[in-house]
Subunit: 414 residues, 2 copies
Amino acid sequence: MKTADPELMRAINRFHVMDAIRRFGPTSRVEISQLTEMSPTTVSAITAALLDDRLIIPLQVGAVRDAGRGRPRVMLKLNPDAAHVVGVKLAPDQITVAVTNFCADILRSLSMPIRIDRQTAAVIADLVEDGVRRCVSDAGLELAGVSGICVGLPGVVERSAGVCRQSPIFRERDVPLGADLAFRLGVPTSLDSDVNLVALAEHWFGQARDLNDFLVVNVDRSLGLGILHNGELFRGANGLGPDLGDLMVRRRGDGVVRLAEVGSETSVLGEAEALLGDGGQRAEVRPEREMALLLQRAQGGDARCADLLAAAGEAVGFAVANLITLFAPPRVIVSGRAMATSECFIEALRKTVAALLPASLADVSDIVVREFSESVWARGAAAMTLRELYGAPWSTTGPAQLRELQTSHAGESS
Amino acid sequence: MKTADPELMRAINRFHVMDAIRRFGPTSRVEISQLTEMSPTTVSAITAALLDDRLIIPLQVGAVRDAGRGRPRVMLKLNPDAAHVVGVKLAPDQITVAVTNFCADILRSLSMPIRIDRQTAAVIADLVEDGVRRCVSDAGLELAGVSGICVGLPGVVERSAGVCRQSPIFRERDVPLGADLAFRLGVPTSLDSDVNLVALAEHWFGQARDLNDFLVVNVDRSLGLGILHNGELFRGANGLGPDLGDLMVRRRGDGVVRLAEVGSETSVLGEAEALLGDGGQRAEVRPEREMALLLQRAQGGDARCADLLAAAGEAVGFAVANLITLFAPPRVIVSGRAMATSECFIEALRKTVAALLPASLADVSDIVVREFSESVWARGAAAMTLRELYGAPWSTTGPAQLRELQTSHAGESS
DNA sequence: GCCTTTTATCCGAGACACAAATTAAATCTC
DNA sequence: GAGATTTAATTTGTGTCTCGGATAAAAGGC
């Protein structure tokens, strides 16, 4: 928490007004006043300033007919054209780019099915640069009109530094992709874990609008974990999001079995090689097809395939149960494209969690599946950038930090 | 975050001033101004108000001789007599009560070696009431002069409700001890997990004054976990601290092995029954003696005893490694009286953590042992209450919460 | 005894929130 | 259809806060 002055006061209240409008859609000043518990005077002043900055606009009058008697309310909404932002998602086999407006509506998106894992960071940055330029131009915009870019990718990402510490799609470690792209495109660029984007999207637009605490577990080629705690994305003390795949599920000799080795699509396909009976090398080349085949067989009644999926579900369930014990989130959202939506997997996960939760926590969390959709994360990436534009003053500053004391008495020693 | 008004602004800045004085000891106004980055004018105004309320007092002039030239600084410090608070710790075999002043100095303490586990809540409340009355009176105070009481106990505690959800020392669940004692003694009483008190004490006075993130693992008859994250005590979404003993270390059939079954003194003694060769019932009656015996034998070279301790250390290490993966704290403090200080145990814990941490997190945490001391938690309990008196305005309010919208247009439906 | 230096306070300006009064824009009533 | 009624939004005035600059206070230096 920064030291408080009138400016901070205004920033806080302005954020509350923006947040209320964003969350409740077109809203009148009286409603904002009630929602935020600020006086009508203050709301009026703040909305006047926001209107002046063209961050919000009045809804066309007559659009909402009001059954009441007195002067009709003027509904205010976010100005869609107040800003434009770009979201980018890097997946092992695909780059997706989306341009959204200030309301996080997707104006234009672009998918490039390219296998980028194990490419060099420079090549990937090239591809992303091209994709962004193309998508922005297709949306009828200029790069100069873009306020920010957010790139989501699997792995461990240090958002504050704009660096990807490690990722399945980079050979290198500590890739400073944020600064790189910002330089290439001339637009502020942030980096974040793809799961965090999904978590924010669910919080702003999705199944968790009403919740300030939930988990997002992304089950895909690799595993991801996003935690919303007290309305904020949870990061460890080093600023890194926790990596679900690094969580340990059991001992093995002197070492340990990590979830990544037993709960991801990659690991399941590795074990399924023999079962699918094509020598296994295919899984390296076309993992989606192999996964689809595995799911199909499992659904068709192949017990061994079903068991493989169930084993993965149990492993993930074990980790999720531990996470619920820590965070006690009312909801756990499992997202993903293939395995995550399989009955075998998800049922095993559900059953394991139910069986393992301590009695005191039974029934605190319900586990829902959210099939992966490009639009979800894209809006999340937009939200991540827009949140900076709105400027929530406390989350950026962190807890009270006192400056180093500089002794002013000459020759004094402490 | 509450809606910001001048009052909140003042509250925040007043807290910063108090916090600076608390942390840096006797401090002059200029120093506070530098530390908090507030203007000298503001600091002067706030300190004047605090002096007026007698929350702080000027240090006796002449006490600190200043080598400088100009007008000497007036050092300000917390007024020890501004308030008195009481800390209570409930352990299975002991009730401890301590009275402290506004600086969290212990004025008087009282230990009552009584086996209270498995007593009824009413009996325990009686004992606590007596102990508090006695200790306050011994300190030369009246109950009316006590601003608050904080009770620490093992188990799962819902601080906000003043209810102990479950604890090894209560047969009952959901014991509303806070309200009960507040009623009996006429003093506001809060409840918290004993580990949280230790964590706060370490943060305010102990080995983690400079850290905003660390874990405290309490290894005792039962296991406890306190997490300081971003300078605040971490609690789950339900307001409950996570229970270390509920964390799972491995599967066992359809069920699971929880840390409480393998990593606590109780569990180790359970397994050691045969080894110690006295029929085992002694452990029920005199666990401390049995534990001491076990430690002694292990130290003396009894491999089987040492292995038992090492196994517990490994189990706790497994859980700690997972916690480090999530929270990435720079320091982990292991506290406890008996087993926690044993070399066999702590070395196994250290080795396990080192072996299991993912490469990206190696060396982020150093693990230190803090032998249990009554004074630590007592100051923690004091700090917990004093923090409320200081009034950090943001931690109490939490993130932006919008009130329910009440439609004011009659007959309107949304 | 006067000057210099550092600390603390006083004074006026600027920003803000808020309550009360006022204006605005509709519907209702007769 | 003109005035009363009702609800929304703005204007006005007051008090609180922080802060920069001027001023007073309290020492040592000379």
